[in-house]
Symmetry: D3
Subunit: 320 residues, 6 copies
Amino acid sequence: MPLSDLTLDECHAYRSTATEPPGFDEFWSRARSSGGPADFVEVSTSLKTLRVYDVRFPGHAEQPVRGWFVTPAGADGPLPCVVEFPGYNGGRGLPEDCLLYASAGYAHLFIDVRGQGSGWRSGDTEDHEPEGTGPQHPGFMTRGILDPEKHFYRRVMTDAVRAVHAARAHPLVDPTRVAVAGVSQGGGLALAVAGLVPDLAAVSADVPFLCDMRRGAERAATGPYLEIGGYLKVHRDRVETVFATLGHFDGVHFARRATAPALFSAALMDTTCPPSTVFGAYHNYAGPKRIEVYPFNGHEGGETVQHAERLRFFADLLHP
Amino acid sequence: MPLSDLTLDECHAYRSTATEPPGFDEFWSRARSSGGPADFVEVSTSLKTLRVYDVRFPGHAEQPVRGWFVTPAGADGPLPCVVEFPGYNGGRGLPEDCLLYASAGYAHLFIDVRGQGSGWRSGDTEDHEPEGTGPQHPGFMTRGILDPEKHFYRRVMTDAVRAVHAARAHPLVDPTRVAVAGVSQGGGLALAVAGLVPDLAAVSADVPFLCDMRRGAERAATGPYLEIGGYLKVHRDRVETVFATLGHFDGVHFARRATAPALFSAALMDTTCPPSTVFGAYHNYAGPKRIEVYPFNGHEGGETVQHAERLRFFADLLHP
Amino acid sequence: MPLSDLTLDECHAYRSTATEPPGFDEFWSRARSSGGPADFVEVSTSLKTLRVYDVRFPGHAEQPVRGWFVTPAGADGPLPCVVEFPGYNGGRGLPEDCLLYASAGYAHLFIDVRGQGSGWRSGDTEDHEPEGTGPQHPGFMTRGILDPEKHFYRRVMTDAVRAVHAARAHPLVDPTRVAVAGVSQGGGLALAVAGLVPDLAAVSADVPFLCDMRRGAERAATGPYLEIGGYLKVHRDRVETVFATLGHFDGVHFARRATAPALFSAALMDTTCPPSTVFGAYHNYAGPKRIEVYPFNGHEGGETVQHAERLRFFADLLHP
Amino acid sequence: MPLSDLTLDECHAYRSTATEPPGFDEFWSRARSSGGPADFVEVSTSLKTLRVYDVRFPGHAEQPVRGWFVTPAGADGPLPCVVEFPGYNGGRGLPEDCLLYASAGYAHLFIDVRGQGSGWRSGDTEDHEPEGTGPQHPGFMTRGILDPEKHFYRRVMTDAVRAVHAARAHPLVDPTRVAVAGVSQGGGLALAVAGLVPDLAAVSADVPFLCDMRRGAERAATGPYLEIGGYLKVHRDRVETVFATLGHFDGVHFARRATAPALFSAALMDTTCPPSTVFGAYHNYAGPKRIEVYPFNGHEGGETVQHAERLRFFADLLHP
Amino acid sequence: MPLSDLTLDECHAYRSTATEPPGFDEFWSRARSSGGPADFVEVSTSLKTLRVYDVRFPGHAEQPVRGWFVTPAGADGPLPCVVEFPGYNGGRGLPEDCLLYASAGYAHLFIDVRGQGSGWRSGDTEDHEPEGTGPQHPGFMTRGILDPEKHFYRRVMTDAVRAVHAARAHPLVDPTRVAVAGVSQGGGLALAVAGLVPDLAAVSADVPFLCDMRRGAERAATGPYLEIGGYLKVHRDRVETVFATLGHFDGVHFARRATAPALFSAALMDTTCPPSTVFGAYHNYAGPKRIEVYPFNGHEGGETVQHAERLRFFADLLHP
Amino acid sequence: MPLSDLTLDECHAYRSTATEPPGFDEFWSRARSSGGPADFVEVSTSLKTLRVYDVRFPGHAEQPVRGWFVTPAGADGPLPCVVEFPGYNGGRGLPEDCLLYASAGYAHLFIDVRGQGSGWRSGDTEDHEPEGTGPQHPGFMTRGILDPEKHFYRRVMTDAVRAVHAARAHPLVDPTRVAVAGVSQGGGLALAVAGLVPDLAAVSADVPFLCDMRRGAERAATGPYLEIGGYLKVHRDRVETVFATLGHFDGVHFARRATAPALFSAALMDTTCPPSTVFGAYHNYAGPKRIEVYPFNGHEGGETVQHAERLRFFADLLHP
C-alpha cells in the first residue's frame, strides 16, 4: 500500500478542526459515578504460572460486563494493574489470549466490549438496547446514532470507566498504579477513560480508533469508519446530526481533558485509522506524551514491537 | 460471473435436507394473533394520480412498525391489496419509491423491516432488544442467534404477519384479495407469511433469502448469508445451536405450510441467494406454484421484467 | 470509499481549464433543425392510473429513436412535459420503469440512447454507423473518436434535441412548459440540450457525465470515462485529437450557452463522475442555477431524495 | 488460480452438446467467394533483415481490411505463408510486432480485425455497420447479436477467409503452402477459416476463443465470453436467439468441416477460454490433430514455448 | 467464502494419490544424524514469570539456527518440552510472542525457519545457498526446486529435526517427553519431524501446509502453494521434475512413518491449505490420531480454541 | 486507473531528495574490472534471417551468467551492439523472444538476471549466495538488504557491467558502438551501467525501476517496490539501514555519473514505477537526454511504440 494520508511532516503540522459538542462534560458526568461491586471467580485453565478469574462487573445501566482478570500465580500484591480494551468487534477471547501483562508482573483486566466479540475474538457480553435505537448500518458505529444518550459508545465508554473502578477495588491491585491500554478501538477507549477518570498512572493508545471522526469518515478506506459513510449514504439528511452525536465520543475531545502520561502510536500507511486522525488526538492530548510512528505499517501498527515498548513505558511509571 | 451453484437440471433434482426444528408450529402460534389497530395518516407529496398514507401498526411486542400505504387517487374500494417487504437492509424509502402497485390499481402496503433501512433505501422503524441478545456479527442475521425467541427474525416475521392484518383491516381493502410479495429478504418474508397466514390470494417470492439456510451459509459468496459464517468463524462451538435457531425462520419449512398460489423466481448466477436454496423452498411449497428462472442473472434476478410478470400473475388472481 | 477528488471547498473554487473547440456553434447548428413527425402508439400495460405510448421519432439522419410517452390516465392537457434521458448503457426499459413524472401530473417522454440499453435497462433503438468509425475501445465513448462528425455523441445529442421537438409537437403538451432531465449520462445530455434548445422551462442534471472530460479521463477510477484512457493507452499518439473531438460534446461548453433555470447535483465520493468535473460545468452554467451536494455518496448520488427535490424544483417552474 | 473447469481427464472425456444451426453451410457459402485484389505497399522501417508491406484487401462488403505482409529481405519466392489473426481487441500493431514468421523464412500476413485494435495493440481497420445492429453490450460479441447476417463475426470471418485469398494471390507466395494461425480470438478465426477454406496446409489454434460458446458463456470468469452474459442479463428473453446466432460462428461446427492438419493448445487454468471449450472444438476436429496442454497456465497459454512448437509443426508441413 | 474444496464427508472418503519418490528414506537418513551442541543465552525481558534464552543451534550444514527457549521462571526440571515451528514466512519474533507453553508449565523451544521471518513476524536466521539454486519464483517453495538436495525444505526440515535434538540435550528437558507442534508450515514441519524422529511423545499439526502438494498446487486459491503454479506457469516443461522434488518433503509420505499420537486440525473453507490436502496426510498417518474440523473457518483454523485443545492433548501425554 | 502520482507539470518540477551513500564510487570501483572471456555457442533454431548464440560469461564472483547473442544471419561486422536487460523476474526466454535488434541490423546481447526468470519469461542463470543473506521478503529486493556488499543488486549490476565487456570483446562487435537498454528493471540496470561504464554510445531506460527508491517504496501501489515496504512492515527498526543499502543501487545516483546520450520514457499512470521516480533519475542525468511521456499508460509504458522510437534513437547514434 502506498501512502494515502498525510506524510509524517504533515501529520506533525496537522491540527483537528473538530468542535466539541456543547455540554460534553455534563453528558459524561454520570459515567464517572461508580457502579456496584465486581465478581471475580477463579477459573481452571492449563496455565501454571498465572491465575485467571472470570470477571463480571456492572457497566452501563448496571448491565453485567465480562472480562478476564489475570495475575502472576503466586502474587500477593499490591500489584500495578493494566486495564485493557479490545479492538473493534473483538472480545476477551480465552484466558490463553491474555498472557502478556500478568507474565510481566501486572494484574491484568481485559474486558469485553458489549455486543462485540464476533469478528475476530469471541466475547461473552450482551448489549441491551431497551429504548430501541433506530435504523442502523451493519456494525456498531451507527447504533443509536441520532442521539448521544442512545449511542452504542455511550454504553461502552461507561463500561470502560467502570472497569477501572472494578480493577481499583480488587484487593490485589494498588489503585494508584493503574494504567489503561488498547489498540485501535481499544486505544480509543483508553483515551476516553483517560479523559474521564482522574489519577491514572499511564495511558497507552495504539493506532487509536474513535479520534477525529469526521476526518476518519472522509479518509478511511477500510474498517469501521466506513460504517458512518455507509449510513450517511442512505440517510443523506443526517450528516450534522451524526457528527454531533459522534462528537461526544471523539478522542480529540477526551484528549484535552487527560493528564496521565501517554504513549501513542501511529502507522503512516494505516487506511483504517489514518495517521492524521491519530495525530489529531495526539496534538490535543494535555498530559505528558510521546508517539511512536511506524512508517511502513498499516493498521496492524507496531504489534509486539509496540507491546514491548509499552511494557517498558509502563515499567517506568508503574514499577511492576 | 460463471455458474457457481447447481445447474438448472440439478436444481430441479435437488431437495433440501434441512430438518424442521421441533415445536415449529407452537413457536409461531403466537405470531398469528392479531395486534392492535393501525394508523393511516395521509401525507402530502408531489404525486397526483396516487394517494399516500404514512402507516404505523403494532408489530412484535406492540412496537410500532412504519410503512407507506398507497392507493389510486380516486379509488373508493374495495381494492385488492399487495403487502410488500423490502430486501435486506432496505426500508420503505420515500413515497416516490412505491408507485407500481397503486398505479396498477391495487392498494399497496410497503413496510419497513425494523432496524433496517440504512443499506440502500432508508427505513424509519426502530428495533427494540430489551432482553439483550448477545455478541453478534455486524448485520442482522446473528442478532439473538442463540435463542429463537430472541432472534431478530422472530420479531420481523411477526411484524410481517401483522402487516397483513393491518392491510385487511383498512376500509378500502378487500380482505379476501390480499397478496404478499418481496424480493430477496422480502421474498423470504413473503414465504414466512404464506406459511403463517391463511387465505392469502397470492404469493410472490423473487430470489428469496432465508431459505435452506445452512446450504446458503456454505455456498453463498456474497450477501448476508456470509454473516452466519462470519459468526461461526469466531464462535466455533455454536454451529448446531445457530442452525437450530435459524430453522425457525427457514422458508423451506414455511413452504410446506403454504396454500396460496405462488410465483417464484431464481437466478442461476446468484451468489447471494444461490439458486439451489431457492429451489429448496420451491420444491417444498405445498400450494400451486410456478418458477421463473433467469439463466444469466445474478442476485438482481428479473427486476422489472419479473415485476411485470408478477403484475400479470396477480391480475389473474386478484382482479384489480 | 474515501474522498479521492477535491473537497467541497476546493470544488467551489475550481474552474475548468477546458478550451472550446473552434466552430463549436457551427458544428451544432444543424442539430437544431427539426426532424420529422413522431409516432405515438398507445400500448396495453397493467397500469391503470397512467396511459403509455410507444414513441418513435426521427433522430440523427432520420433514424428512428424509441421511447415511452406516459401521461396521467385521464389528462386532456395541456400538460407540462419532462423529457428524460437514460444513464450510460441504459435504455427506456419497460413502461413500468417510467412511472414517476406522469404520476406527478406531467407528460413524460423517456427516450432510448441509440445502441445502448444492454448494461442495466434494456433499450430498443439501433445505432447506424454507415461511414465506419474506426477502431474503438469497448463501450461508446470512442466510437468515431477521431472525428466530431462521426462521433457517437454527435448522433445521440441530435436525438436528444429532436426528442424535445417531438414532445413539443404532441397535442397534450404545452410547448412552453418543457423541462429536460437526467442522471449521469442523462444529465450530460440534459446539459447539451440546455445549450442547444432555447426556451426550456427547466433543466435538471444529476451527477452529470460528459463534463470536463479530460479531467474526467484523468481522475475517474470507475465508469465510462475510463474508456477514453483505455483507447489512449493503445493509441498513444491520439491524445490531442481525442480531446479535440470530445470538446464538441463537453457540458462545460454547453453550459455557457444555457439560459433555463437549472438544478445540479454532485456527490463528493463519486469516482465515476468526479465532483470537480460536475462543478466544472456548474460554474460555467449561464442560467439561474443551484447545486445539491451529497457528501458521503458515490455515483448513485441523491437517488430518490434528489428525484423528490427535482419534483419540487419542476413544480415551481412548470406548474403541473 | 486453482483449477476451475474440468480436469485434464474430464476434458478428454468431454464432448460438446452444441447443436449446429440449420443452414450453416448455406449461410457461409457466400463468404467463400473471392473478393477483389489486394494492395501491397512497401513501407520503410528500421528493420534490415525483413521487408514489410502495408496491405489493404477487400473484406466483407468489399470494405478495406488492413494488415502487414512481411517477408525475408532477400526472398524471391515461392515462399510458404502464414496468415495470422489477432487476439480479442488487438490489431496488427506496428511492423516491429510481426517479426517471427518472416525471420523463420515464411511470408507472413498479419491482419487486423475490423473495429478492434484498441485494447492491447493498435488496429487501423474501420468496421461498417450500415444496417444498424441494435443495442449491444460494450465489446464486440453482441454487435448484431439478434441476426447472424448482421453479427460482427459474420463480417470478421469473411475478412479472414479473404485474407487467405489475398495471400495466395501474392506472387511471392506458394498458394499450396498456406497455414492459418492465431491465439485466442485468432485461434477461433483460424478454426473458422479451416472449416471454410479448402486446401490449407496447416492450422494452429492456441487457447481458441469462439468455441462451444454457450458453455463458454456459462463457465468463463474473465474475458469476452462475459459480454454474452452481460447482454443476456438485460435482454433476458433473448437467450435462445443469442445462441442461435452465435452457433453460426462456433468453432465446434467449423471443426467438423476442417481437413488440414491442426495443432491445438489449451491451458487448464484458463478462465477466459475454459479448457473444456477448447476440447469441445478439438474433439470435433475432422482433420489430423494434436493438442498441447499447459497444466498450470491461464489464458496466456504456452506463449513463446507454443510459438516455437508451432514453428516446428509448420516446418514439417510447409518446408520454409 | 463459500466451500470450494471437498465437503467434510468427501474429505473423510478422500485418499491422496501422491506417490512416494524412490529413495525417500535414504534421502532423509543423513538428516537424522545429530548436529553439534546448542547455545542457550539468557536474555533480559520485561517478563517476570518466565525465563527466556536466545538459542543458536547448528542446523543443516552446521549453519546456525536461532530460536527462543522459554521456561517457567522457577522451574528446575525435568520439564516436558514443546518444540514449535512457525508458519510460512514468520520467524521467532520477540520473546513476548512465545508465552503460552512456558506459562502452561513446559519448556518451549520456538525456532526460526531460515531465511524467513519477513512476512508477519520477524526472524533472525540466515539461509545459505552456497551451490546456487536456479531461477525461482518469489517466495521459498521453488528455491532449488529442480533438485531435492538443493531444495529449501531439505535444509529447513533438517533444522527442524536438529531442533528436537537441541531441546532433548538441554538439562531442564526430559527427553522422553518432547512434543512437536505448528500451524500451517509449522504443522507441515511437525509432520516431517514426526516421520523422521523416533520416540516423540506427541505431535500437533494444525491446518498443515506441505501436504499432498500437487493437489495443493492445483486447488489452493491463496497462499504459498501458488508459488508452485507460478513457477510452472513459466517453466512449463518442469512439471514432473518439480513434483518429484516436492515429493521428498510431502507430509503424506512422512505421515506413513510416524508413530507418536497426533492431533490434527482442518478448516473446511481453507483456501491456502485446502482441507482435502490435510486429510490426505491425516488418512496416511500411521500413529494414533484425531482431527478437529472447523466448518466455517478459513486458514486461520481454530486459533486459540485449537491451542487450548492442544494444551489439553499435550497434558494427557506429557504431564507438565 | 486515475492519476495517482504527480502530474506532468509537477514531475518536471520535482527533484529527488535522495542522498548518496558515502563511498559510492569506491563501492563500485571493483565492478568495473573486467571478468574473464565469454563463451558463444551457436544454437539451432527455426530462424533463418538471424543467427543465435547461447552466451555464458563470468559475472559477479566469476559465476556464469547466461544470455542470447543474436546477429543478422549474414553479417560479418563490425556491428553496433545493443546490450539489453530484462524486467523484474523475467529472463532471456527463448531465442524467439529476441528478434528485434538483430532484425534491425544490430548485434544483440540479451542477458538473464541471475536467480530471476520465473515470473514471466524463463531464465537459466543461478544465483549464489555463499555468505547467507538474512531473512527476506519474497522476491529479490530484500535479499541481503542489510549490507550493500551482500545485496542482490550488487551481484546483478556487476553482471550487467560485465555483459558490456563481453559484448565488446566479441569479434563481430564494434566496441565503440555499444548501447544499453531495458524496460523497468532493465531500465534501472541500463542506468546503472550508464553510470559505471564509460564510452557507451547510447542508453535507453523505459519506465525504469530502481530509481528514487524511498519515494518508490512510499508511493508505488503495485510491483516490486512493495517488497521493501513488506520487509519494513516486519523489520520496523531497519528503515534507515534498508535505504542506506538501497542507495548503492539507486538510479538517481548513477544518473549523475552518466555521460552517454539517453532516451528515457515515463508513464503518468504507472503505479509500479511512479513517474516522479523516473523523473527523479531523469533530472539527475548528466549526459544529453530526452524523455517520452505516455499520459494514459500504466507500467506497460510505450511498448512497441517506444521500441520503435528507441530504434530511431539508436540509429542516429550507432549507425546500424
